[in-house]
Symmetry: C2
């Protein structure tokens, strides 16, 4: 069932008290983060239309600099558009393969990096550079904040989709300028992410790249510093 | 209580079945997204050290290109470092004010944009450009994927903190190069976000910039396109 923000434990009505989350919720949230995964293997059955609409409405809850909401999302539905994106992936993938040697290249080739053939939903997420909304607040010294806001929107979708049992895969082996020319509705748009979305063929707690021997996760304490 | 990924409804042990989330969880997750907020007003009481460590461990569950985990997090604790960051904020804030006129400038001045004075925890999140982990996968045509991975880490922290009742505020009115010179531990690091973290003085469902009349959220359907 598609849930809207009413009722339940958190009791987050429009003007009601703020939600207080409990340990049971935190355990489930951590499980969601642990099992999120970058999904590459999708079943071909469609995603319910009302659910997709709901997930896209949740994207709008993402943080954005100056409340600019600069993300622009294109649902890539036509066969022609999908085929053009796939061709961009294949060209970039072939070029990337040239950069690796021997065993690493073989591994790379075996990794099925794109769900482009199977994912029933494909979304191109753009940022509108210089968008008027937000009046420029918070992005004078860090103009990249607009792009970062679009990334937060993608991550919001990722998490929300997983809560409904859907998997998302972010395809970055693409020529972003070519994909922008293909799919953007305005010249000020810039591609941030091309996303595959659908029912995952299987759930995994361990990232595919770790299972494939490409790159394991490493000790997080090495990433924390104090000053 | 600090929850680790065991037990509870999702039952996500290391090698157990994948979690299946239910409607009650989805309602709470949506409430969390709705009430997340970019927090600027903090109480000064400290954040429990074990909780902060736990939240930082959850950051490592964020998605990253090629499983590169390129985020580097500096806990800014010394008075000297905090004062230097504050000075960078004040300079950038003064310059930003010059770009606005009349009523908008007055509003801008009234917005207390930084929790820098009160937030008990301050974190500078960097990306390590060109980091070896991940072997370059997925970032040949889109090298910005490393920075975007660090943004996902920030958003993961944001959500996890909120589940524990903590607020996060992202300060982007800063000179990122100056802050990098101040706080980075390696020349390959680049500032992605400077974060304030602590107990919010109050909870709000409506963004502060909307309440202040700066920028309301707008209709999300205008951001969705089909091709």
């Amino acid at each position: 069932m598609i849930m809207s923000g009413v009722g339940g434990h958190a009791r987050a009505g429009k003007s009601s008290l703020a939600p207080a989350f409990d340990d049971a919720f935190r355990v489930e949230l951590e499980a969601l983060l642990r099992w999120r995964r970058d999904v590459r293997h999708f079943r071909r059955d469609p995603v319910d239309g009302a659910l997709l609409d709901h997930l896209l409405s949740l994207v709008d809850l993402a943080p954005s600099v100056g409340n600019s909401q600069p993300w622009r999302i294109v649902r890539v539905e036509s066969a022609a558009a999908r085929q053009a994106v796939r061709a961009s992936f294949e060209a970039a993938n072939a070029a990337a393969l040239n950069g690796y040697e021997g065993e690493q290249a073989a591994l790379y080739a075996r990794l099925k990096l794109a769900g482009l053939d199977d994912a029933p939903v494909q979304l191109a997420v753009f940022v509108e550079e210089g968008c008027a909304q937000g009046h420029g607040l918070g992005r004078q010294t860090m103009p990249e904040m607009l792009r970062y806001s679009a990334v937060s929107a993608i991550h919001t979708l990722w998490i929300a989709a997983r809560a409904y049992g859907l998997g998302l895969g972010w395809v970055s082996i693409l020529d972003p300028d070519a994909v922008t020319r293909l799919l953007a509705f305005a010249p000020s748009w810039r591609l941030v992410g091309y996303l595959c979305l659908g029912h995952p063929r299987f759930d995994q707690e361990v990232p595919e790249l770790e299972r494939a021997g490409w790159q394991a996760r490493t000790d997080g304490s090495a990433r924390i510093f104090v000053k």
